[in-house]
Point group: C2
Chain length 488, copies 2
Amino acid sequence: MALRAGDSQAAMTGVKEKVLTLDTMNSSIRRVEYAVRGPIVLRALELERELRQGVKKPFTEVIRANIGDAQAMGQKPITFLRQPDLLNSPDFPEDAKSRAEHILRACGGHSLGAYSISSGIQLIREDVARYIQQRDGGISADPNNIFLSAGASDAIVTVLKLLVAGEGRARSGVLIPIPQYPLYSAALAELNAVQVDYYLDEERVWALDVAELRRALRQAREHCRPCALCVINPGNPTGQVQTRECIEAVIRFAFEERLFLLADEVYQDNVYAEGSQFHSFKKVLTEMGSPYAEQQELASFHSVSKGYMGECGFRSGYVEVVNMDAAVQQQMQKLMSVRLCPPVPGQVLLDVVVSPPAPSDPSFAQFQAEKQAVLAELAAKAKLTEQVFNESPGIRCNPVQGAMYSFPRMQLPPRAVQHAQELGLAPDMFFCMSLLEETGICVVPGSGFGQREGTYHFRMTILPPMEKLRPLLEKLSQFHAKFTQEYS
Amino acid sequence: MALRAGDSQAAMTGVKEKVLTLDTMNSSIRRVEYAVRGPIVLRALELERELRQGVKKPFTEVIRANIGDAQAMGQKPITFLRQPDLLNSPDFPEDAKSRAEHILRACGGHSLGAYSISSGIQLIREDVARYIQQRDGGISADPNNIFLSAGASDAIVTVLKLLVAGEGRARSGVLIPIPQYPLYSAALAELNAVQVDYYLDEERVWALDVAELRRALRQAREHCRPCALCVINPGNPTGQVQTRECIEAVIRFAFEERLFLLADEVYQDNVYAEGSQFHSFKKVLTEMGSPYAEQQELASFHSVSKGYMGECGFRSGYVEVVNMDAAVQQQMQKLMSVRLCPPVPGQVLLDVVVSPPAPSDPSFAQFQAEKQAVLAELAAKAKLTEQVFNESPGIRCNPVQGAMYSFPRMQLPPRAVQHAQELGLAPDMFFCMSLLEETGICVVPGSGFGQREGTYHFRMTILPPMEKLRPLLEKLSQFHAKFTQEYS
């Protein structure tokens, strides 16, 4: 293979050039300018910081007349839109009040109605950094590398936008697992990048195999420029939890092959199976030491939509970037500034999630009990799902080690496959549509996530309440048996 | 000029082909697929509707096991994240409680923590439609043509994404005003489309002149395929309010020239000048009758970030599309589904904004008083800004008829221009940076919005509180005088 840019420098200094640089990034994003939050506003932020630190200036406050942000300028929220006044309500526990005050002090105009800075409220990013540090056994996290977002999806698309560049054979390729979460295929299609499929091994509980990564990469290099590798752990839709050894192997592979790593870790709190444990890419990378710890580029994503809290509607999440080129990180900040800021109510919810009550807090006992109850019930549902499906002839379901989904494989009779093809439908779409029409059960066909040619799956959440889940699983299995008979 | 596609059909039937069709739209968006909210989920929604209407089915409820939406499946929000229980609180007025109940009943799992459908909660879209109908003197609005979004920016970018296609001379061009709000230039740069500038006439209070539109279009057609025309009314950063005659002329022009219209109307509640009135493009278009009313394609944007409420932090807004091709509208819905849903707290706030208290409601008097106070103060600030600036030698400010900004023109001495150029800065950026360093006043240079070559402006919001605004305006004017002297 021909030498790539940076290789000669790498040979001389032992330090590889970054994968993602101003030269390799999306040139359309480089051209973006957004003056309302441009250099002048960044300087205003610095001046505010200096004033707080006591640096003498010819003025005592910065007045931000740069942006149409009424509440930041002191306009009071309209009472009707905000009643009641919780901070003066006796119903609102004191620890919650002081927490709310703490967050409000970090908001423009002491209100959730003001824009925050584009990367998210500084105080909240600091709390997120502390949370990550605690999760990773003390490995430090820098708030400046944390960007809040409207759900993890928003952050994932932002990072993909930076990575995507080139035309023809130089077009960016991104390796994604198959089966995948279709945000990836959708974003890559929209960005006109190349989706490079690597297959998870269903026979080994959807294991991620480096030999398969190598195969996918080799074939992709014949027609595009693979620049990034995405891993979803715990898996969506597949529910596996990767071992530490696997993650180490993936990191070594990404480093050798010069791939930017995207770690979709939104299900990090959803691990159920005995013997399974979540290992963050950031922690493993750091513990692997040199050269990975200082050089491997990584973006790790998290969300408040999943976990024990399941607060999807608030659209809140974050990305932590590690070893990202500083100039590219500035470009990312600029890109995020165009959409002004992530929704502030979601930012606040994220803060409460990453700063749960301490054992000494009045809210601790109830919080802990509720959290454990949700996670214990999810674990029981994961187990039940696997069990009922595996008792059904023609359906085979891997253990649901984590996340919120089962992705069982099903046999479909040749006549059903043929009939589906006559209707212009994927066979598993035909099955799922028939299931919906007859039983009201809505699951998603495997073809929407990708699967090996000739295999058929569906994704079903494990979320329905326990008393509904068993009859649901049984009804689905019975329908499959009937469907199989009908088309045999 | 050569005949364009659709012209022959138009000649035969009198009906022009849509500007934006499956054939002309962004082909990358067409390729996007997102199974988690794909056809199977659309069918599930239909089945739910049919069940509600009493249609007999072999089941009594649809169980949505398609998406990881815990609260929609009945999981209770963690108390700690949601305390206190307002619906049982004596502090929460009864009309607010019943309104909250009304909205919660339309939410999955009776909770703001569940995803909504991608276009926004149906009940809220119906309330928005009623609001538009009332605004437009009874002209009906269809909730199915309304899509809620994370602020207007989100919706604007979505519509631009659909419009942008082609390479080289066939690349899409979008006409935008100069000065413009830089979201447009940023989005067009990101999407690799051609920004086609038309200049507003500063000498006539930033009037929009069809002759200038014609010039811009003619020149653009030499190197790209102009497909859309954007109007910002009331103007940002320029603060003008367009007359009804002007809007009619723009609509005729867009229709003749086959341009999709984007009407950025987020400041529709911010009109201050005597004799100025807001006219929505939708209303004018409809009242112009045939062929405009049935054929001219339009997207109109609104937001809760501006108006009297100024709730920027919630990131909430909507777009209403008019005469959009049905297949393209489906593509838009699909595209929006990839980001799952707009933030639900913002959707709820939008609902409260579009359904203000009725005169008989207990909250009416206070609401009305607060709203009028905010708008009256903004009007006074608009007047004061214009007045103080126009008393300053070397600064000239058009009347601020609406929106939230002044965009004064300033003279800069040649030596300052030269000095800025030596520093690699736009002259007005140099002025604004100097202003910030010396006074703490943060305003945005005109070069960030676009301006006629050789003219210099800055955008300053009229939002600082009254007691701060006058000293601020005077300080800025004094700084300009000193700056002028220093470089003369």
